[in-house]
């Protein structure tokens, strides 16, 4: 299966591990990802609150870049995913806006017909298109004994959850059971990580992060698995600061779900971007996977 691929800015730098692991896992599962040529930033969450037309135009440019013979675009980053999906929907629901956006695109010789491209999240592609049997077939190193807390965050499941519950999503839960992990059913899996709140008010942001870490820890999770670079950054990057602020002692590795998928498929941790996280994951894997985890 062939998909256009939109990495987004985060996956170029702080979330390189996500990008690495997405490609590794996609290759193994036969998902052909073709990176958009000359893609541009999605404007993140901020641009939309500044100016809708400009925001839409910036995003729609990426949709317009998708080759005519491909009709699906994969975006692993939650913010990019939501922005792309939202823009497509706005353009089709509001014809006037759509026309204005296309006027903007015309300046660059581009055009986008709303509805032509379906924006997909990597999780949906793996769960819905590849499916349980194919995923299970590829597992050579089941994650038996490892307790993982799937963390969905807000943007992939709200407001539009592709075949999942917006309030209490289950897709990643299912996927992780297919690769042998013990899934922790903790109550905050779709709560907000605070997003950019760290830049505005640290106490508020830290409290949001603490709640997530606390709940996962209460349910004895060995690690939290993310599907968004922002969530990963907040939970991993600020974990030390949160500990300092609250006097807590969290030591939970925060990984991307694709990284653990890669481990279960027997791929090299290094190729999957292990080691880029701040709270080290490999020692936990070593301890929990009962020696079947041979470090290379």
């Amino acid at each position: 299966m062939k998909y256009a691929y939109y990495p987004g800015c985060s996956l170029e730098c702080n979330a390189a591990a996500y990008d690495n692991s997405v490609h590794e896992v996609a290759d193994l599962l036969g998902i052909k990802l073709q990176t958009l040529d000359d893609w541009n930033c999605c404007g993140a969450t901020e641009y939309f609150s500044q100016d809708e037309l400009t925001a839409c135009a910036v995003i729609a440019r990426n949709l317009a870049l998708v080759e005519p013979q491909v009709n699906q675009l994969v975006a692993p980053c939650a913010a990019c995913y939501l922005n792309l999906k939202k823009t497509d929907r706005l353009m089709s629901d509001h014809a006037e806006l759509g026309a204005k956006v296309n006027e903007c695109l015309a300046a660059g010789g581009l055009n986008y017909k709303p509805g032509r491209v379906t924006v997909r999240h990597m999780l949906d592609v793996i769960v819905d298109d590849i499916g349980e049997t194919a995923v299970r077939d590829k597992v050579v190193r089941p994650l038996t004994g490892l307790k993982v807390a799937p963390y969905y965050g807000c943007q992939v499941v709200r407001p539009i959850a592709d075949g999942d519950c917006t309030e209490y999503p289950m897709k990643m839960d299912h996927l992780l059971t297919w690769i042998g992990a013990e899934v922790v059913d903790y109550p905050v899996k779709a709560h907000c990580c605070g997003g950019h709140m760290t830049q505005i008010s640290e106490p508020q942001a830290f409290e949001l992060i603490r709640r997530l870490l606390q709940s996962a820890q209460d349910y004895q999770a060995d690690m939290i698995l993310c599907m968004c670079p922002m969530c990963q950054l907040n939970l991993d990057g600020y974990q030390g600061r949160v500990n300092g602020f609250f006097g807590s002692d969290f030591k939970l590795p925060i990984m991307y779900f694709t990284q653990m998928l890669g481990i279960a498929f027997g791929l090299e941790p290094k190729k999957l971007g292990f080691g880029k996280e701040l709270v080290a994951a490999l020692p936990v894997l070593k301890a929990k996977l009962n020696g079947q985890f041979a470090l290379s």
């Binding site: 209490y168 289950m170 059913d185 109550p187 905050v188 606390q214």
Partner: protein
């Protein structure tokens, strides 16, 4: 004989006249439609004055056909046919056309509406000229009635009819009659004990000489029509001989196999593998649950058989099909509870102390698994605080858009019971408080005074993720209190979800068996939502209780009685008139190809081998007309819907589309 057509266009107040120029339509028809001798408009044609006008015209002008352009024929066809009848004109020479539902109400452009109205009037006028006088068929009404569903609505209907001296077959799917009402503890707003008022009715039904109870049975097939239905009922094997069993209950007592009761006790309690659902069950004859019975699963045990004093246990019993003949059917199939797991953020099935309202009813019930003690899942701890969440799966576009109508009152009742039985603080989370019936609002006021904490807001989630020390080990209800305008987190020990009332899972399937349809939500469709709420579009089939839409016990009882009254009316009259819309075959033209034979789903067409022709059995024909359309020789006629009539209607309806020059008639194969 020259045709003399009268046209009557109704204003329906401003309902039609608002977007159709009715005066112009009447004027136009009088001038432009051939054979029209009178064309009038009138404010309300269905009023006695309007009808009188038509009657007078028929008599005075000797009208040969009447066209009424008004509302849907489903509403007033009977009215205007009767009008014609009174004036001596055969009712089938009256044609109604729908200027309200099909024109004025769906259109806001008066000019276009007027053109469309003209088309429909012209079509009806052309058609009525080809209509023939018909006589309705008279059919005797079998005085026996089938009631499907043994809940309170079905029980009421059964008793009304049986007490009036007519025989009733009462079919119930579960081993006992009683329905959901048997599960409740108290009833609102009077707080009388549900079982105390229900069980006398149950035993009355059980002992009634005019009632044949068919419990643990399902409706299998319905054929025939009003007055003479033939019904097949599947009596599921009980593995207990109904006639031999005395209901002593010793088999139940001695049965070594205990299983969780998912039906009557909604998973809160146990029953045996041989069981009656509850102690006051009617009948008292138990059933064996073969999926759990040790003998059926492992081949040994037979304790019940050994101990039964009347040798009533019969492991070889098979399902039995019972065939009944009845004149009318009352559907009272009830409802099921919304699956609260479909709203996962409320934690049902995940967080132990989140309950559904039905579970909580059993918990409150003195005859329930805890003998009426309100305790947490551990079976001993009394909750110090309880949250009751209204509208779970109701008034929610993601689940059910409708209001389940009884949950506010049911919740208030449960809230009262918690206050009465425990020292717990009670929090009620509601969107709007709906207490519209007699003494309901007063009950709400009483609860306000009793000290329930009412919070107006839709609950976002129920979670065990504590943020504050006082939330530790509690269930936290997160809600936006829309009266205060604040987010609130309320820690409680127990949460009760007021699940929506939903149609039975197989309501549609069962409905189709008797030819009745469901609304979008899945409730049985009544003939008219206001004026005919217990009849259906299928003559002889009535609906009662929640299967027609969410309602409380008093309303269900009222509907059960209403349906019974309708049926009694039919029985007392003794015969029904059936529209003579049936097919007939002109044997002279029939080639005996038998194509029509296979077209008929009612086997209403027989083949005469000797004469090599097909023949319609009028009593079986339902008048769909499929054979008429299929006959290659064109010798089947559908009364009141024959080709000539429909062709005329097509020509009339396209009055403004005919080409300028005279065209040659299209000669069809018919």
């Amino acid at each position: 004989m020259a045709e003399k057509i009268g046209i009557y266009v109704c204003h329906c107040g401003s309902n039609i006249a608002g977007t159709v120029d009715v005066e112009e339509v009447a004027r136009w028809a009088g001038v432009n439609v051939k054979d029209v001798v009178i064309s009038k408009d009138y404010k309300f044609m269905c009023s006695s004055l309007g009808q009188q006008m038509i009657e007078d015209d028929i008599k005075k002008e000797g009208l040969t056909g009447v066209v009424v352009g008004a509302c849907s024929p489903h509403l007033h066809e009977k009215t205007f046919r009767a009008t014609c009848s009174r004036a001596g004109l055969n009712p089938f020479l009256c044609q109604m056309t729908n200027l309200r539902e099909h024109v004025s109400w769906v259109n806001s452009d008066k000019e276009a509406g007027t053109v469309k109205a003209k088309s429909l009037i012209s079509a009806a006028a052309e058609r009525v000229k080809h209509q023939a006088p018909l006589e309705p068929m008279r059919v005797k009404v079998n005085p026996a009635t089938l009631v499907v569903g043994g809940g309170i609505a079905g029980l009421q209907a059964t008793l009304e009819l049986a007490d009036a001296g007519y025989h009733v077959y009462l079919v119930e799917r579960e081993p006992s009659i009683g329905g959901h009402m048997a599960q409740f503890d108290k009833t609102f707003p009077t707080l009388d004990c549900s079982a105390c008022i229900l069980t006398p009715k149950m035993s009355e039904v059980g002992q009634h000489e005019n009632v044949t109870m068919l419990t643990y049975s399902e409706l299998e097939e319905v054929s025939g029509s009003v007055g003479n239905f033939k019904v097949k009922i599947r009596k599921k094997a009980r593995y207990v001989n109904y006639d031999k069993c005395t209901g002593c209950g010793i088999c139940v007592e001695k049965c070594p196999r205990k299983v969780i009761d998912d039906v009557f006790e909604v998973g809160m309690g146990h029953r045996k593998a041989i069981y009656t659902p509850f102690p006051q069950a009617v009948p008292r004859v138990p059933v064996i649950d073969t999926a759990n019975c040790t003998y059926f699963t492992k081949g040994k045990c037979q304790v019940c058989s050994k101990i039964c004093p009347t040798a009533a246990i019969d492991y070889e019993q098979q399902d039995e099909i019972v065939e009944l003949e009845v004149g009318n059917i009352i559907m009272a199939t009830g409802w099921k509870l919304f699956d609260c797991k479909k709203i996962p953020q409320y934690g049902y099935g995940r967080l132990a102390n989140v309950y559904t309202n039905m579970e909580f009813e059993r918990l409150c019930n003195a005859a329930g698994p805890t003998n009426g003690k309100i305790v947490l899942r551990d079976g001993k701890t009394e909750p110090k605080s309880v949250a009751i969440i209204h509208c779970v799966g109701s008034r929610d576009v993601k689940t059910n858009p409708y209001c389940s109508s009884v949950c506010c009152m049911a919740a208030l009742k449960l809230e009262h019971l918690i206050l009465e039985k425990t020292k717990a603080e009670v929090y009620a989370f509601y969107i709007d408080m709906r207490t519209p019936m007699k003494e309901y609002e007063e009950f709400y006021q009483r609860l306000l005074e009793e000290g329930v904490h009412f919070v107006r807001g839709k609950v976002a989630e129920v979670t065990d993720a504590a943020r504050m020390p006082d939330e530790q080990g509690k269930l936290i209800v997160q809600v936006e209190d829309t009266l205060v305008g604040k987010q609130r987190r309320i820690p409680v020990d127990m949460v009760v979800l007021m699940g929506a009332i939903e149609p039975q899972a197989d309501a549609k399937e069962i409905g189709l068996k008797c030819g009745i349809s469901c609304s979008m939500a899945g409730w049985y469709t009544e003939r008219h939502p206001k004026l005919d709420p217990v009849a259906t579009m299928t003559d002889g089939v009535f609906v009662a209780g929640v299967c027609q839409g969410p309602k409380d016990i008093p309303a269900s009882v009222a509907q059960g009685a209403a349906a019974a009254a309708r049926v009694q009316g039919m029985i007392t009259k003794g015969e029904v008139l059936i529209e003579p819309i049936v097919a007939s075959i002109n044997e002279e033209g029939c080639s005996g190809c038998r194509i029509c034979n296979t077209m008929c789903p009612y086997n209403a067409i027989e083949f005469d081998e000797e004469k090599n022709v097909s023949r319609v059995i009028t009593a079986l024909c339902k008048g769909c007309g499929t054979c008429v359309a299929a006959c290659p020789a064109g010798v089947i006629t559908g009364a009141h819907f024959n080709n000539e009539q429909i062709f005329a209607e097509i020509e009339g309806i396209l009055w403004d589309a005919k080409p300028q020059t005279e065209k040659k008639e299209l000669q069809t194969a018919k």
